[in-house]
């Protein structure tokens, strides 16, 4: 089953039109399908195949290659803890352990109530603000185990419909890679990045 709607067909056509070849729309359409179903489903991938003019097997081949396409149930809050070299040097493993402890969700899994998915990831480009994480692909820099625990507890108790990166950084973050400049009100819903016509982008509360 997929929650892909006729309205999404129209939006998909607009995305296909952004490219010289419909096949190029496979990646954006996978995000759309994942947003509709809360994770990738077989039927969702079939819809992507129809719209992009390729076979379902070709869509699955693409989906399985990239870490941000996730099959099955994914949490409302995807906590991605970077473990690459700059974060490693500043003790990202303790931050990951704090996320596991605070959510009760092991690395690479989704909790039974569907709130959290916790994962370790490779470099997210926040090395100057290490150790860093992403929540629904929004950056939070300058973490430590206490900040990480507080962030998870806050999400768990507040249960926001969507998250805003600036708010999380303001509340729980520390040193940043650089001055972010003015805030961005966009909100993000797991497990899809908050970008334009095919992502989870919403406006803040």
């Amino acid at each position: 089953m997929t929650a892909w709607t006729a309205e999404m067909d129209a939006r998909a056509a607009g995305i296909v039109a952004r490219y010289p070849d419909p096949r190029s729309a496979v990646m954006p359409l996978l995000y759309m399908a994942m947003l509709a179903d809360g994770g990738l489903t077989d039927d969702g991938m079939r819809k992507v195949a129809e719209r992009a003019g390729v076979s379902p097997a070709q869509v699955r081949a693409v989906a399985s290659f990239y870490t941000m396409y996730k099959e099955g149930e994914v949490g409302r809050y995807v906590i991605s803890v970077c473990q690459s070299i700059s974060c490693h040097l500043l003790d990202s493993s303790a931050v990951a352990a704090a996320a596991v402890e605070a959510t009760g969700v092991p690395i690479g899994e989704t909790g039974p109530d569907g709130s959290f998915t916790v994962e370790t990831v490779e470099c997210i480009g926040a090395c100057g603000g290490a150790p860093a994480i992403q929540v629904n692909y929004e950056m939070v820099e300058g973490l430590d185990p206490d900040r990480m625990r507080s962030l998870c507890e806050w999400l768990g108790s507040e249960q926001p419909e969507a998250v805003n990166g600036d708010e999380l950084q303001e509340r729980f973050g520390g040193r940043r890679s650089f001055d972010w400049g003015p805030s961005d009100p966009t909100t993000a819903v797991g497990p899809v990045p908050a970008f334009g016509p095919y992502g989870s982008a919403g406006e803040g509360p």
């Binding site: 952004r18 010289p20 070849d21 096949r23 190029s24 729309a25 496979v26 990646m27 954006p28 996978l30 995000y31 992009a52 390729v54 081949a61 693409v62 290659f65 990239y66 870490t67 941000m68 396409y69 991605s80 473990q83 690459s84 070299i85 700059s86 490693h88 040097l89 500043l90 493993s93 990831v121 490779e122 470099c123 997210i124 480009g125 926040a126 090395c127 100057g128 290490a130 992403q134 692909y137 929004e138 950056m139 990166g165 040193r175 890679s177 650089f178 001055d179 972010w180 400049g181 003015p182 961005d184 966009t186 993000a188 990045p193 908050a194 970008f195 334009g196 095919y198 992502g199 982008a201």
Partner: protein
């Protein structure tokens, strides 16, 4: 002024450097007006004369690359914003804080190259940055800088932002093109090079964000002015991302030629907590490591190469004297094992072997034969273990995973041997 070609606007106007209004108020899109009055080939000549070398990692001269573009249409320009090399976050700042500088660079470059459709491939995790670039394109379109008949010149340009989905390998230009075509991000065998057969098998130029962000300045001031900045072979300013055990991590725009000491201990503020510098990665996770005996060497592309490493993506990762180098090497190797696309056996299998051997040593179960085994596996990926690396693979990802191995074996072999001899699990 010469050391702020790229960061000047955001430093002077931190509250709105990303907006069209601020960009225009600070001279923005004047370079485009100038360029549209030039012969396209004359723009390419200016870029050639600037001697700017690509800022994505390989350091290939940009103007020369442009000169390879085959003379058939359609042809494409693709901006590589898939910044994923561990330690690197410079393009993120350019995308986020001065996206119009990039957009103007794209429009000028597309005009020079005879391109009517350009793409910006942004890594999936750079959501805020992708939003900023899309907003800048939308603003530029409304103002007539992008779209049909740019500024009444008759030149048409579409720009499509494409979001990746978490695959480092898509920073390799042919993998990026496959990804943009809706395929798995597997590198292609070269030749043919993208300039001849790229996106949809059409002639394509793939350039890094920082590279193209320099183009407006080069057009405004001329290639010769850019070529007058910095030492030969490393012209212009360059962004360095400092991270790890350094007091003031961040992105720094510098004129190349300063010493590593001035970069790490000067700009970077030295090592925190009164500790000592042990080693650093000079150009992203793919680069062999440097140790303090080269601190007074100049930071240039050619000097880094002479010393057996590279400036790569400009990522300087600093490690202090408390660093367990085996654990650090494991972090880098694990990255490449995770990001291997799996096409080539030496890389797919070898990086996994290297990861498991390093994990074994760290767990206290290391064997005396493990050092030879690590080097043997490495040699199967990069025969001879030399720099620049030979390859048994389609792309340089596999050989990049060898860099931390050769680095710890060259500089810290005694530490590895001691860890194996003690047979105690490391506390890291």
């Amino acid at each position: 002024m010469t050391d702020s070609i790229l960061f000047g606007r955001m430093e002077a106007h931190p509250s709105d450097s990303h907006t069209l209004a601020r960009y225009e108020a600070t001279g923005g899109y004047q370079a485009l007006r100038k360029a549209l009055g030039m012969e396209p080939s004359a723009i390419t000549e200016e870029v050639k004369a600037s001697n700017i070398r690509g800022r994505g990692g390989a350091g290939f001269p940009t103007g020369v690359k442009w000169g390879f573009l085959a003379d058939t249409t359609p042809r494409y320009l693709v901006i590589n914003a898939d910044e994923s090399e561990p330690g690197t976050f410079k393009d993120r700042q350019l995308l986020e804080r001065d996206p119009h500088q990039l957009v103007e660079g794209i429009v000028i470059s597309a005009f020079a190259l005879g391109v009517s459709h350009a793409f910006v491939y942004v890594r999936g995790e750079y959501t805020r940055q992708a939003r900023r670039v899309q907003a800048a394109i939308d603003e530029a379109r409304a103002a007539g800088y992008v779209g049909k008949d740019v500024l009444g010149s008759g030149f048409d340009l579409e720009i499509t932002v494409h979001l990746g989905a978490g695959a480092y390998i898509c920073g390799e230009e042919t993998a990026l093109l496959n990804s943009l075509e809706g395929l798995r991000g597997e590198p292609r065998i070269k030749p043919p090079f993208p300039a001849v057969e790229g996106l949809y098998a059409k002639p394509t130029i793939v350039n890094n964000v920082e590279t193209i962000s320099n183009v407006p300045w080069i057009v405004t001031n001329g290639g010769a002015a850019y070529d007058a900045i910095g030492p030969e072979g490393s012209r212009g300013t360059r962004l360095f991302s400092l991270s790890g055990h350094v007091e003031k991590p961040g992105n720094y725009e510098i004129v190349m030629g300063m010493s590593w000491r001035d970069l790490i201990h000067g700009l970077g503020g030295g090592i925190p907590g009164g500790r000592e510098l042990k080693c650093w990665i000079p150009g992203g996770a793919s680069a062999p490591w440097f140790t303090p005996e080269v601190l007074d060497e100049p930071v240039t592309i050619d000097d880094a190469g002479r010393l057996g490493s590279m400036l790569g993506s400009g990522a300087v990762v600093v490690m202090d004297d408390t660093t367990n180098v085996v654990a650090a090497a494991l972090s880098v190797v694990r990255f490449f094992a995770h990001e291997s696309c799996g096409q080539c056996t030496p890389c797919r299998e070898g990086t996994g072997w290297m990861q498991r051997i390093l994990e074994r040593i760290l767990s206290g179960e290391g064997r005396p034969s493990d050092i030879g085994l690590l080097l043997d596996v490495s040699d199967n990926i990069s025969p001879g273990l030399e720099w620049p690396p030979a390859m048994t693979t389609i792309c340089p990802l596999g050989p990049s995973a060898v860099s931390p191995i050769t680095s710890i074996m060259t500089h810290f072999r005694d530490e590895v041997e001691a860890m194996i001899a003690q047979g105690v699990a490391a506390d890291v």
